[in-house]
C-alpha cells in the first residue's frame, strides 16, 4: 500500500504565498520563505511550549498575536511578521527578559536587543540578587510588596553541587527546555520540574534537593538544550570564572562516541588540549541531540591529569 502524499497548506506571509505540508507550523512556513523569526524556547528536538513569546506574529482576524513556533499552518492564513504590534511585543519581551534575567551569554538575545531597540533599563536598576534559598522559600500567592525603585530579577547564587555541571539560575529564562529534555522528550528521568508560581516559578528538584540526591542521572541533556548558559559544564564554568574561557583558542571536532555500539555523534569543543564542552547535533539521526552521561561527560577522561 502506498502512503498518500501529505496534503499541503497554502497561506500568505508578509504578502508572499507559501505552501507547506499539513501539520507544519507558522514557523516552518516562515523558514521556508527565509523570513527570520526569533525563538528562545523552541528547539527542533523538543515539543514546542510557546512560553517565551518572542516568536509571536500577527494573524489576520485574530484578537491577539499568535506563537509561530506552535501554531499550525491553516489554509488561507494571512500572517504579518514585522507589523508594529509584532515589533512592540518582541521589544517588550526582550526588555522584560533583559531586566529580570542575566541574558549575557545569549548571542541571540544580544542580536535581537539591538535589532528591536530594546532597552531593559527602562524599568529601573536591577534589584539586588536574592540570598541562597530565598527564591525557593517563596510561597505561591504571596510576595513582598515592592516600592518600585528597582526591577525585580531572578538573581541568585550559582548552584554547584556536583563535578559535572553547574546551575546558574540567574541566567534562567524559564524556557522549560531542560524539563522537557529530562522528561518525555528525551531522558524520561523526571528529575526536575517547574515549581512555584508566577515570578517565583523556577526549575527545581523535589524539595529543592541537590542533584546528587535527586533522580538526576547526569546525562547532561538539560545542559545541551539550555539557551542562556544557565546550565553549563563545570569545566566551562571554571574557565569562565578564572577568565580563561577563550573561544578564539577553541577547536571543534566531530567524532563517534566510543563507550558503546550505538554510534552517537559527539561534537567536542577543545581549548588548550582539554575537552571543555560536549554536544551532539540536534538533527543527528541517532541522538537527536541527546546523549548519556558517558558520551556527555565521559570524554573528560581522555585528559591526562584526571
Amino acid at each position: 500500500m502506498t502512503q498518500a502524499p501529505p496534503k499541503s497548506v497554502n497561506m500568505r506571509i508578509d504578502g508572499h504565498e507559501v505552501s507547506v505540508p499539513e501539520g507544519s507550523t507558522i514557523l516552518d512556513a516562515c523558514r521556508k520563505l527565509a523570513v527570520e523569526t526569533p525563538t528562545f524556547c523552541w528547539a527542533e528536538n523538543l515539543t514546542p511550549v510557546n512560553v517565551c513569546r518572542i516568536c509571536v506574529v500577527e494573524l489576520e482576524g485574530a484578537r491577539t498575536l499568535v506563537p509561530a513556533c506552535s501554531r499550525k499552518a491553516e489554509p488561507g492564513m494571512s500572517i504579518r511578521t514585522d507589523s508594529a504590534r509584532v515589533r512592540l511585543s518582541r521589544k517588550v519581551v526582550l526588555e522584560l527578559l533583559g531586566s529580570s534575567v542575566d541574558m549575557s551569554l545569549s548571542e541571540t538575545f544580544a542580536k535581537l536587543k539591538s535589532q528591536y531597540g530594546a532597552d531593559p533599563d527602562r524599568f529601573g536598576p536591577r534589584a539586588p540578587r536574592a540570598a541562597a534559598g530565598e527564591r525557593e522559600a517563596a510561597e505561591p500567592g504571596h510576595h513582598e510588596v515592592p516600592d518600585g525603585s528597582a526591577a525585580a530579577s531572578v538573581g541568585q547564587p550559582v548552584k554547584v553541587d556536583n563535578e559535572l555541571f553547574v546551575r546558574d539560575y540567574e541566567k534562567c529564562m524559564l524556557c522549560y527546555k531542560c524539563v522537557e529534555a529530562c522528561g518525555t522528550d528525551a531522558q524520561n528521568t523526571f528529575a526536575i520540574a517547574v515549581a512555584g508560581r508566577g515570578f517565583d516559578a523556577r526549575i527545581s528538584t523535589e524539595f529543592n534537593a541537590s542533584l546528587p540526591d535527586s533522580a538526576c542521572v547526569f546525562c547532561g541533556n538539560c545542559v545541551g538544550v539550555c539557551p542562556t548558559g544557565a546550565l553549563m559544564f563545570k569545566s566551562e564554568s571554571d574557565l569562565r570564572e578564572r577568565g580563561e574561557w577563550d573561544e578564539s583558542k577553541q577547536t571543534v571536532t566531530d567524532t563517534i562516541c566510543g563507550y558503546c555500539g550505538v554510534g552517537c555523534q559527539l561534537t567536542l569543543r577543545v581549548q588548550d588540549n582539554r575537552i571543555v564542552r560536549v554536544t551532539s547535533p540536534s538533527d543527528h539521526s541517532v541522538t537527536g541531540g541527546h546523549l548519556c552521561i558517558k558520551g556527555r561527560f565521559g570524554s573528560t577522561f581522555v585528559e591526562g591529569d584526571r
Partner: protein, 613 residues
C-alpha cells in the same frame, strides 16, 4: 515507570488520608488501584489536599507516599504542590486563617482586621510567632496570612479558616473580626453573615436561592426541580442544543461565548468519551454569584450539568470548585449523593437509558485555574498552566477529549431555556442579550449581594436597587467586570448592563462584578492591589505575563509613592507598552487582561492631574 522515590516515610495518619482518597488499603504494599497512568495522575491534587487537611501541610513523607502510590515523579508532584496557595510545603500549625485583603475587603476594614490578628497571633507566615487558640482546654497552634478575594465581598471583610486533623474543618465567613477568626481556629462554628439575594424582574436564576432549603432533594423537586431534566430527556439531545442555541445564551464566566455553539461542536466531535465540566473556580476579585448558586441551589447546577451531558453525549461530568468555598463543597457533595440515591445520576438517569455521573473536584488556591485549559490541567494532576488555543476544548479539552466547559451561572440559565423555551427566555433582556444576569454588587453600597436583573437595566438603576452609597456620599467609580474588567466613572453610570451596552461604552460585564468606590476610597492603592493580584496569580509560564505583571506592580508602586521614573507621563507610556505586550503576546486571558482595569482607571478617572507631574 522506573522512578526514584523519596526515602522519607509518611505518618500513619498521612498514609490513611491518602489511602482514603486513592480508595485502597496500602498496608500490604500492593499495586496502585488505577490501572492507567492518566487516572492515577488525576488523583494527585485530591491526594495532596487530603494531606493538607490531615496535617495542615504537605510533608516530605506524605508527598513521597503519594508519589509511590500514584507513580508520579517526586519533582513533578513537588512542582504541582508548590503551585497552589492552599497547600503548604513547610511545617505549619493545624489551624490557619486566610484573611482577604482584596479590593472589596480592603474597603471594609481588612487592614484593621489584619492589625488585630497581628497583635494576637504575631506576624503573618511566621511560625515562630504562632500563638495558641484554646477550645475546651485543648490548645491548637494557629497562624495566618493574607489572601486574595475569597468571594465573600458581599459580607466583607472575609476570612477562610482551616483546621487540620482527623476530622478537618474549613469555614469561610464574612463579617470577620479577630474574635471570630480565633473562634473558628479553635474549631467553633461561625454564624454566617447576611447578604442580599434580590431580583427586579423574573426570578429565574434565583428562583429558589434563599427561599428553599438547598440541602433537601424533595424540596428541590417540590419547587420545579428536575422538570427541565425530564423535559430534556423527552426532547432528545438535538432539540436541547437547538433550544440553547435559539436562546442566544452566552457564557457568563466573562468571555460570553455562545453556549449552543459550544455544545453543538462537542456533540459533533468524533472523539470519545466526551466530558462536561462545570467551571466553579470563581475567583475573579469581586465575584460571588456562583458561590450563591452553588450554596443556595446546588441541585439546579447539577441538574443543568446532567442536561449538558445528555445534550453533548457525555457520560461523566466534573465540577471544579475553588478551594476557598467549603460551604459550596459540602452542599454540592451532599446534592450529588442525594441525586445518585434518587436515580438522577447513575446508570439510568431519571429512568432513561442515559448514564451520567458527576465528580466534585476541589481547587487549591489558584485564580488561573478558572482559565479553562488550566482547569483541565489541574484536574489531570498537573500544574494549572494554560495552553495555547487552538485546539479548543470542544475538540481537545479534559484528558484531550471533546469537552463542554461552562460557568455555573451559564448552566443555571439552561434550566429555564429547556423548561420554557427560547422565546420565553428572551421575554426578559435585550435583543442582543436575552435573558437575565446575576450581578455581584459590593463595595460602598447599602445592600451588597447578588442581584438578578434582565439584561438592559441601567447600571444606575441597579445601584439604586442596592440602596445606593451609604450616607449619600458621591460615587467615585464603579469597577465593572472584575479585576480583569474596567472602571466606570460617575458620568458613565447610565451604561446599559448588556453585552452590547457594555461594549459600546468600551467596558465589559466580565463576571458580573459591580464594585462601588465612594469618594473616600483612595484609588491608587486599589489599582496597586489589583496589580499585586495579577503578579501573585500569574502562573509564570509566559514572559509577558510572568515579568509584565511584576513590572506593572512596580510601576503602580511608584505612582502610589510619587517617586516616578521620569514623571507620570513617562510611566503612562511605559504602562501602555507593557499593557499592549501583555494583551497581545500572553498565552491566556490572565495576562491579556492584567492591565485592563488599571489602564481604564488612568484613562477614565485620571487620578493623576497634569499639574502633579
Amino acid at each position: 515507570m522506573d522512578l526514584k522515590h523519596l526515602e522519607d516515610t509518611p505518618t500513619d495518619a498521612e498514609r490513611q488520608a491518602v489511602d482514603d482518597v486513592v480508595g485502597q488499603s496500602r498496608s500490604d504494599g500492593g499495586h496502585a488501584l488505577a490501572p492507567d497512568a492518566r487516572a492515577r495522575r488525576s488523583l494527585l491534587l485530591p491526594a495532596l489536599l487530603a494531606l493538607q487537611a490531615r496535617r495542615g501541610w504537605v510533608s516530605r513523607g506524605g508527598l513521597g507516599y503519594v508519589c509511590r502510590v500514584l507513580e508520579v515523579p517526586p519533582a513533578e508532584a513537588f512542582g504541582v504542590a508548590s503551585f497552589y496557595a492552599l497547600l503548604a510545603l513547610a511545617e505549619r500549625p493545624a489551624a490557619f486563617a486566610h484573611l482577604c485583603d482584596d479590593v472589596a475587603c480592603s474597603m471594609a476594614g481588612a487592614d484593621q482586621l489584619r492589625a488585630a490578628m497581628e497583635q494576637r497571633f504575631g506576624a503573618p507566615h511566621a511560625p515562630e510567632h504562632r500563638a495558641e487558640v484554646h477550645t475546651r482546654g485543648h490548645a491548637t497552634k494557629a497562624c495566618w496570612a493574607k489572601s486574595p478575594c475569597l468571594g465573600l465581598c458581599d459580607q466583607a471583610p472575609a476570612a477562610l479558616v482551616t483546621v487540620a486533623g482527623s476530622s478537618p474543618s474549613a469555614q469561610a465567613f464574612g463579617g470577620a473580626t479577630a474574635e471570630k477568626v480565633a473562634a473558628a481556629m479553635a474549631g467553633r462554628a461561625i454564624e454566617p453573615a447576611s447578604y442580599a439575594i434580590c431580583a427586579n424582574g423574573p426570578r429565574r436564576l434565583l428562583a429558589r436561592a434563599g427561599l428553599v432549603d438547598p440541602t433537601r432533594i424533595d424540596l428541590y423537586q417540590a419547587h420545579g426541580g428536575f422538570e427541565a431534566l425530564h423535559k430534556a430527556l423527552a426532547m432528545g439531545p438535538a432539540a436541547v442544543i437547538a433550544a440553547v442555541t435559539d436562546s442566544k445564551l452566552a457564557g457568563r464566566g466573562g468571555a460570553a461565548f455562545p453556549t449552543g455553539k459550544k455544545w453543538e461542536a462537542v456533540s459533533k466531535a468524533a472523539a470519545t468519551p466526551r466530558y462536561v465540566v462545570c467551571n466553579a473556580d470563581e475567583s475573579e476579585p469581586g465575584t460571588f454569584k456562583d458561590r450563591v448558586l452553588l450554596e443556595e441551589d446546588p441541585f439546579a447546577v447539577l441538574e443543568a450539568m446532567t442536561i449538558a451531558g445528555f445534550a453533548v453525549g457525555a457520560a461523566r461530568g466534573y465540577l471544579y470548585l475553588r478551594g476557598e468555598y467549603p460551604k459550596a463543597a459540602s452542599r454540592i457533595a451532599g446534592a450529588i449523593q442525594q441525586m445518585r440515591a434518587a436515580g438522577f445520576l447513575g446508570s439510568q438517569v431519571a429512568g432513561s437509558g442515559f448514564a451520567f455521573d458527576i465528580e466534585l473536584r476541589s481547587g487549591a488556591g489558584a485564580y488561573i485555574c478558572g482559565e479553562e485549559t488550566a482547569l483541565f490541567a489541574s484536574i489531570e494532576g498537573y500544574r494549572g498552566e494554560p495552553r495555547s488555543k487552538p485546539p479548543f476544548p470542544v475538540h481537545s479539552g479534559l484528558f484531550a477529549k471533546p469537552t463542554a466547559i461552562n460557568n455555573v451561572e451559564t448552566l443555571a440559565a439552561v434550566l429555564h431555556i429547556v423548561r420554557e423555551g427560547a422565546a420565553s427566555y428572551a421575554s426578559a433582556g435585550t435583543a442582543g442579550s436575552p435573558g437575565t444576569k446575576l450581578f455581584c454588587v459590593s463595595g460602598r453600597v447599602a445592600n451588597p449581594g447578588v442581584y438578578e436583573t434582565p439584561f438592559g437595566t441601567p447600571l444606575r438603576s441597579l445601584l439604586e436597587m442596592a440602596g445606593g452609597v451609604p450616607g449619600g456620599r458621591p460615587i467615585q467609580a464603579v469597577l465593572l467586570g472584575g479585576a480583569a474588567g474596567g472602571f466606570v466613572s460617575p458620568a458613565g453610570l447610565d451604561l446599559e448592563l448588556s453585552f452590547e451596552g457594555a461594549r459600546s461604552a468600551g467596558a465589559t460585564l466580565g463576571s458580573g462584578v459591580i464594585l462601588v468606590l465612594d469618594d473616600t476610597i483612595p484609588l491608587v492603592p486599589m489599582l496597586r492591589r489589583i496589580a499585586e493580584f495579577f503578579r501573585d496569580e500569574s502562573c509564570g509560564q509566559c514572559v509577558p505575563c510572568r515579568v509584565g505583571t511584576v513590572r506593572q506592580e512596580e510601576l503602580l508602586a511608584r505612582l502610589e509613592s510619587g517617586v516616578t521614573r521620569g514623571g507620570v507621563e513617562a510611566e503612562g507610556l511605559l504602562l501602555a507598552d507593557l499593557g499592549q505586550a501583555m494583551r497581545d503576546a500572553s498565552i491566556c486571558g490572565l495576562g491579556q487582561t492584567a492591565s485592563s482595569a488599571i489602564e481604564s482607571a488612568l484613562r477614565v478617572l485620571q487620578p493623576f492631574p497634569r499639574s502633579t507631574r
